[in-house]
């Protein structure tokens, strides 16, 4: 029995949004309802990325939505966040794809790229004609990217790249990879200051992308490992304004911000499904399970946490629009909201009992997806340390 999503708004949160923000949210919601919801369970089962949605999403302006110029929509950060919320209400994997295209590939080209690089890539990526991926994480360097082994050696008018990247969303479907590598002026293995970004066209000799199979999570998006063996790129492919570990972390900040909104979408999907289910599922004396205190406690917990998460991320979004946001604010929103969403998914699964395990309902898919979302773009624990560092002034990594 498919339950139609009805939206979640306990404290008239919508009145905190402008007309345009609501229109953006409603448009994205309608698009996802019409186009993703009918196919997502099939995609998830088959481990298939719904590539057919790339063009329609591009037409609506979902890629690079918060960038200005190059055909991009120039959305505010709150509007962009509402789009990611609705995308992830559909599926975290599809939202991940959009986040990578927008925040991890278009953003660094926009922020660190030359005019020529921007002209070459941004309009085509906005239209969905070119897809991108972001290569920072390595097999041995996840939470500590500063230790990366990938190297870029200058050779005449070229750079030669060598290294391995792992857990790369969209790796094998990308036309261009933003590869982060240390240049030869790296002083030692832990020196992150020499990290630079490079645009690597994925058809260059020596570049290989292999999909990671057997994922229990994010099955509707592509996850790959990348191998670069003596990949030669023109020196003009260096992102000229990138410098040090700070550059990729700036990209991650963009993406983490979108995730903080996205997680609310997944939580809303689970909560609304559990609420509707609890009202029609009858047990004991032919009464709905929603009439029982243990079920009500779960629903009350979830709606409270979803509401708090909305307020948190809205404030972070407003700060971002005023250019006052700090990375620790985004860390708090990402950490709290993804945790909250995962707890909601687990609790909703409880309410649905055995029915929560099958993909007739979206809950288990969201739950499995959120396990990845809790880990990527800075694990829950790493964000704890970022907040800890911010309040104490002491690094505990």
């Amino acid at each position: 029995m498919a339950l139609k999503f009805r939206g979640v708004d306990f404290i008239e949160f919508d009145t905190l949004l402008t007309d345009d923000e609501r229109l953006v949210r409603d448009t994205a919601r309608r698009f996802i309802e019409d186009n993703l919801i009918p196919i997502i369970e099939e995609c998830n089962r088959a481990g298939r990325f719904p590539r057919e949605l790339v063009k329609p999403m591009a037409d609506l302006g979902f890629f690079g939505a918060s960038l200005k110029g190059y055909g991009c929509a120039g959305m505010s950060n709150v509007e962009y966040g509402l789009v990611t919320q609705e995308l992830e209400r559909g599926d975290s994997g599809v939202r991940s794809f959009v986040s990578v295209q927008s925040a991890l590939v278009m953003y660094p080209i926009y922020a660190f790229g030359s005019d020529e690089q921007k002209q070459t890539w941004l309009p085509a990526m906005q239209k969905g004609e070119k897809l991108g991926c972001f290569g920072l994480t390595e097999p041995d360097f996840g939470s500590n990217p500063g230790g990366m082994r990938t190297r870029a050696r200058k050779s005449g008018n070229e750079y030669v790249l060598n290294g391995e990247k792992m857990w790369i969303t969209s790796g094998s479907i990308a036309d261009v990879a933003v590869i982060w590598a240390k240049t030869e002026d790296a002083k030692d293995a832990n020196d992150g200051s020499s990290i630079r970004g490079f645009l690597v066209e994925t058809d260059r000799p020596g570049f290989r992308a292999e999909d990671i199979h057997g994922k229990w999570s994010l099955r509707a998006s592509v996850t790959s490992s990348l191998s670069l063996q003596d990949v030669r790129i023109p020196a003009s492919n260096l992102l000229p304004k990138s410098g040090g570990l700070k550059s990729p972390l700036m990209c991650l900040n963009q993406a983490r911000y979108g995730i903080a909104w996205g997680a609310i979408g997944a939580a809303m999907a689970c909560y609304d499904c559990a609420l509707q289910y609890s009202l029609f599922r009858k047990q004991f004396h032919n009464e709905p399970i929603a009439s029982r205190q243990l079920v009500q406690e779960k629903l009350a917990w979830m709606i409270s946490e979803v509401t708090k998460a909305q307020l948190l991320v809205l404030q972070v979004g407003r700060l971002k629009d005023q250019e006052k946001v700090k990375h620790q604010h985004i860390s708090m929103a990402k950490r709290n909201n993804v945790w909250m969403a995962l707890e909601c998914a687990r609790m909703s699964r409880d309410i649905l009992g055995a029915n929560g395990v099958a993909d007739e309902y979206p809950i288990f898919r969201h739950m499995a997806n959120l396990e990845s979302v809790k880990t990527y773009e800075g694990t829950h624990d790493i964000h704890t340390l970022i907040i800890g560092q911010s309040v104490t002034g002491i690094d505990a990594f």
Binding site: D20, V24, D26, T27, L60, G61, A73, M75
Partner: protein, 256 residues
């Protein structure tokens, strides 16, 4: 072609409704959306403009919240909008709404006026028809297709039982559009941004007050239908149940 599209903001189709205190309408704290047939009317106007050029203007009557439907129309591609803005416009009957619209556009020259076939809340299906009469224009209802012809238009009307009627008519004219005539587009994010810079003219209740009068139609009472049927379980052994059943059928329902 210059086309005016009448768009109404109505309560969301699947929103839970609560009656207001006087029991004459629903409470305001509900989610709203564009009336569905009006969305198809707007889409058709945009398609006609894409084919033949011209201008699409969206008009609505309602409180401040109703501006949302105009914003959506502008985001989808309407060129400008007219908002008859006052909470007083909510309770108008179809006659007065049509009179208010006619007054608000008296200085404009449209070739076509589209409305949705009917509204999802009141369901009168009258505003467009009355508006045509007030303008002195011809009209056609339940439109499924519009083609430009020499000096006018040819339209396809939906009749009952799968029948259609084709009508040739001169311009200007009023058409009430059936849902499903086309496939709705989404507002694009860039369209939403651009909508901010499109003109939106506001018309106060005072400006059109002289054109409207007392409502001729009034909702006396609104109520949630009462359950009138009750299931009664007959208990006992099969023999006793059969006996009670025969008794009821014979003496209460009197069908035996």
């Amino acid at each position: 072609m210059k086309i005016l599209v009448c768009v109404k903001q109505v309560p969301q189709k699947d929103a839970p409704l609560k009656l207001n205190e006087s029991g004459t309408w629903i409470r305001e704290d509900v989610s709203y959306e564009v009336n569905e047939p009006d969305a198809f009317a707007l889409e058709e106007a945009l398609r006609q403009k894409e084919k033949h050029g011209g201008e699409v203007v969206a008009i609505t009557a309602g409180p401040a919240r109703a501006q949302q439907v105009l914003r959506e129309a502008l985001a989808k591609g309407a060129d400008r909008a007219i908002h008859l803005e006052d909470p007083g416009f909510v309770g108008l009957d179809a006659f007065n709404t049509a009179r208010a619209f006619a007054a608000a556009i008296k200085d404009e020259k449209f070739d076509l006026i589209f409305t949705g076939l009917q509204s999802d809340d009141y369901g009168f299906a009258q505003t467009g028809v009355i508006l045509a009469d007030l303008m002195g224009w011809p009209h056609a209802t339940i439109i499924m297709q519009i083609e430009k012809s020499d000096g006018g238009i040819k339209v396809k009307r939906e009749l009952e039982a799968g029948y259609f009627q084709f009508v040739e008519m001169p311009l200007p004219a009023v058409l009430t559009i059936q849902s499903g005539i086309n496939k709705l587009r989404y507002a694009t994010l860039i369209g939403i941004k651009q909508a901010k810079n499109k003109p939106l003219r506001k018309v106060t209740l005072a400006e059109v007050q002289s054109a409207i009068g007392a409502n001729l139609q009034k909702i006396e009472r609104m109520y949630i239908p009462q359950k009138t049927k009750k299931t009664e379980y007959l208990e006992g052994s099969p023999g006793e149940i059969a006996k009670k059943l025969v008794d009821k059928l014979r003496n209460e329902i009197r069908v035996l």
